[in-house]
């Protein structure tokens, strides 16, 4: 049980860390897909099958495609590929320091807290139960999320669409 969790963690954290370190954006995106798949594996391990499938569908299926498209559409020309200047090296250093500090604080907090040992089996939750919960107790929230997604879709379309009135010579 714990062995499986550790394997999943290695896959998940390793690919995430590698994704953040790679210089090639395509590699980063592919590694992130692996990491998201690791998260889905974690959900499966924890017994939340439905969420795992949602994770696979949305992250591994949809968001990864959007990311790949964005990477391809914004491919930098070779001139813009500058070597790391001192300012950005400095920023990377402070960023990593801050992240390590946060990690230390959070880990210390987690390790110092006592949790009551839980049941060995996962809470039984059927898909039907989730559906009923979503439609009854969280019906309003579900509707609102629907609206948010629609608005986000429209907004994304408008933002990314080329302005028809823009003259070709204005474009860089």
């Amino acid at each position: 049980m714990t062995t499986a969790l550790i394997l999943i963690a290695i896959l998940l954290l390793g690919s995430a860390a590698a994704a953040m370190l790679r210089r090639n954006l395509i590699h980063s995106a592919l590694l992130l897909i692996a990491s998201w798949a690791g998260v889905a594996a974690f959900y499966l391990w924890a017994g939340a099958e439905f969420v795992a499938f949602a994770q696979v569908l949305i992250y591994v299926g949809a968001i990864s495609m959007v990311v790949l498209f964005a990477v391809l559409l914004t491919r930098q020309n070779p001139v813009a590929e500058l070597p790391a200047e001192p300012a950005s090296r400095m920023r990377a250093l402070t960023g990593i320091t801050v992240a390590v500090c946060t990690a230390a604080i959070l880990s210390a907090a987690i390790l110092s807290s006592k949790f009551t040992p839980a049941a060995d089996t996962a809470p039984q939750t059927s898909v039907k139960q989730i559906g009923l919960e979503l439609m009854h107790r969280h019906g309003t929230a579900l509707l609102i999320v629907g609206v948010i997604l629609t608005v986000a879709l429209l907004g994304a379309t408008i933002l990314a669409a080329t302005d028809a009135k823009e003259k070709p010579e204005d474009r860089p």
Binding site: T94, G95, V98, A99, C101, T102, I105
Partner: protein
Amino acid sequence: MTLPVQYLWLIPALPLLAAGIGALTPRNGRNLAAGSAILAMAVAFVLSCFALNGALQAPATHAVYNFAWFDLGHDALRLGLLLDPLTAFMCVMVTFVGLLIFIFSLDYMKEDPNYSRFFCFMSLFAAAMLGLLVANSLLLLFICWELVGLASYLLIGFWFHKPSAAAAAKKAFITTRIGDLGLLLGMLWLYDSSGSLLFYDGGHGVLEAANLASLTGQTLSCGLAVSTAIGLLIFCGAAGKSGQFPLHVWLPDAMEGPTPVSALIHAATMVAAGVFLVARAYPLMSADTLIATAPVHALTVVAFIGALTALLGALIACGQTDIKRVLAFSTVSQLGYMMLALGVGSWTAAIFHLLTHAFFKALLFLGAGSVIHAAHHEQDIRSLGGLRPRMKITFATFAIGMMALSGVPFLFSGFWSKEAILHAAHEWNVSPLPLYAGLTAVVLTAFYMTRLVAETFFGQARSPAAEHAHENHAVMTGPLVLLAVGAVLLGFLGTPACPWLQARLSGTELHSSMSQLFASGGLLLLSIGLVGAGLVTGWWLYGRKLRQTAEHRDPLAVASPAVMAALASRLGFDELYAATVGRLNSLTAALANGLDRWVIGGLVNFLGQFGVFSGTLSRETAESTLNHGFDQVSASIRGSGQRYSRAQTGEAHGYLRVIAMAFIVLVLLLVLGGSR
């Protein structure tokens, strides 16, 4: 038919829905936007009448419907709806006046390309105001309060391509925000000390006896009761929205918006909000009057600010030449009256005046709009004139509004409501000054309104625009006539002989007798005399010898140019604020940086300069040192501003990093502090 309190949310929700429809209609969907706005207001008006009907059946009770907004720990933040005669009367007034203004705008805004946007904003404005009226929670009221501010910003700056309109919108928003800060602080303090923000909650609300007793029981170190301090903070917000001195400066500039907007702001929605807030929180504001030892009572401050505003507004109105600005300052003055009434303890008189004022001020503004529309956006009364034969309906209704505002006796509503206020001020035993200020303002009001009517409608046309003016459509004159009827009839709801409105508002028994009418005979006669004096003086100065050309000097300016110039420049309040508050920012920045520079590097600099000074004794060198020093000072001041702006890098990384670092520091503080 009655409207139960749990359905009260329909009243603000309908205009809000109309605003949503207006926002989504494309530019060519003009009729859809305007139609939905007017339909929503009409239905809201009908619902408000039902609500009023229900409220009048039990005027002394506060029907509430509270619900939890979200859970906070084991507690829940609760909002609520409230139905009592105060809410119901205000709702009926706002929806009725708003409806007429909407209808008027159909024609007035006809040529504007952003027609549907206009109706969207207007509906939003009305919805926010109605939400404010039905709120049973200071928090819900505050949310709607800010929405009112937002809508006013959008509408005052509706013609944002005019720089003056954009500036006026910004000024209105920022000035009222200063007051809102007070309201926000008051709200937080209130929540801290009473644990609730609901007005009425079956004995646990903030306006109910148990809580008021605990609030008046606590005193601050300076001797003020907590309720006084909270009351004064809430009054800050009210003063901002209702244009009370010293935050009145935004109200005249709000004239940059389209005229229906001015009518809505000045009559029904925005400025009424402040007076309504004080009336709503009246139990809290007046809770401290029983403490004899208190250094100051909240209501005393309200009364004096109100009296000062009434007087100042009326004075400045005498010197304005823009038809809308005269009306704007008269609003400032009338709002002062309402605050005065609240301060001297008669909130029913204040609401009575608020209701009558809404009718005749909407009438005057729409009348002015009618004139401006007919005269092709000529607003200077010196260039108008001679409109009486050309625009008969507008003139007749405007004259009714003018007489109601001046307080012409017996027939007009303004007379009765103003009389109620003066009567209340007369009975106030703290100080007679507010009464004197009110009486002086009566004379001035009659004077400047006579001047306005004489200049605008009499004499000969003094510009081509005025010559070619002709009466507007029935779409514009219809609302004028309806408002004029209201401006006459509304006064009879609250005459001293039969104070039905006041009795219903306060939920007391109605005592009607004709002898009440002349109970304060001396004051009644005095104020009638003062109105007469104002009218006669106005006519003697402006009506007797009518203005011939637009360039002709004002009779008042001939008599005393200095006074007229001071009044025309609005007694210099704008300049004063620009010179003090506006400069405070840059001054503080410069001062802080100068100090910083001199404290840290001062000693070193001084030693260095001393060395240079003692080393070179010649006069030229000394001069160059001095110059150098001056240069350094200027450079340091310049650098200071740049250094302060450096915190705003615009780099997302930096902001994100600050958030993460702040988290780390906060956690470390918490751990090292050892708390919890």
